[in-house]
Symmetry: C2
Subunit: 190 residues, 2 copies
């Protein structure tokens, strides 16, 4: 991760997406990804545990942004207001540049059972982080857990709409819409 390998992480990610598109996920090796990025296999493993984890390297940053935003929410904020702040904070990642890459990544995941399972796990990790951050600020367990599941659904909804080819809306707007929709939906559960 020295100065002699500028943007190694990003180069590896872009090279991997390119190769997955060309040869499929299963048909691509770590050596090929490193080569395409102009780096060594050793460099690859300095940044990622394996080619699967490269596709899930964003999980850590998302988790951190979510936890920080919930912790920073005013104590007067309701659990859903804190969740909305957390989802909105992801706007700093989900910008226009990222949108096409996110769409490509999602197509690769959709085509592979193992990756779909890993994606579900990522969803659970994010939801668990929301619940932990809410408990941390004093929301009791059942409230924190329910609000976190609500947040997980809203995130999924907003993200799925954001990467749609025809979508032009900014992620933050879609996140607010998703929360509002789910809030209205909650009233229909009976």
């Amino acid at each position: 991760m020295g100065r002699w390998e500028p943007n190694a992480r990003e180069r590896l990610e872009l090279a991997a997406l390119e190769l997955f598109r060309e040869r499929g996920y299963d048909g691509t090796t770590v050596a090929e990804i490193a080569e395409r990025a102009g780096l060594t296999k050793r460099s690859f493993f300095r940044h990622f545990a394996d080619k699967r984890e490269l596709l899930f390297s964003g999980q850590e940053q998302l988790t951190r942004l979510i936890a920080e935003a919930i912790a920073a929410a005013p104590t007067s904020a309701t659990p859903l207001e804190a969740i909305t702040a957390a989802l909105t904070a992801l706007d700093s990642i989900f910008d226009d540049e990222r949108r096409v890459l996110a769409r490509e990544r999602q197509a690769i995941i959709a085509a592979n059972v193992e990756l779909r399972e890993r994606e579900l796990l990522k969803g659970t990790v994010l939801t668990t982080a929301m619940a932990a951050a809410l408990r941390e600020r004093g929301d009791p367990e059942p409230v924190a857990n329910l609000a976190a599941e609500f947040g997980g659904l809203a995130l999924h909804l907003a993200f799925t709409r954001w990467i749609e080819p025809k979508a032009g809306e900014a992620y933050a707007k879609l996140a607010h819409q998703a929360v509002d929709e789910l809030r209205a939906t909650a009233a229909e559960l009976g």
Copy 2:
């Protein structure tokens, strides 16, 4: 699965739990499980893909019971009433005989990262089955998804309480309590 191997599945499950308790999950082989059950490795693989899947063999039956109960709910039932019916239907599996085995199984899972991830996936499979069954009976997508997440949380809450050593309550009662609690909780989300 012939007549010459009566209860092979159950025998393998009991033998596996015994061995996992004695030697740990990682320290137990499929050959040892088969031997303890008085069966061959070949018999084992007729019933389970591997020793991990043996621990998750109940997933299919749970999924089926959930889907059937939601499909059988009267059309006048609200989404949450249909979910409550689904959770209550699992009473036929979660009886007193099963409780100790379920507790043992959960202790084995808690001690192993790979198993914990598989358990999260099982939770997602059950939630997805609830959502699909609700859509099938005409509930629109956001309502079905939110009700299903609600159902997943209620199931987790009821199950966790049911396997507690001191718990004496029947599962069905705990399931109703969990739904009622979460319903009250929803009002506090803000």
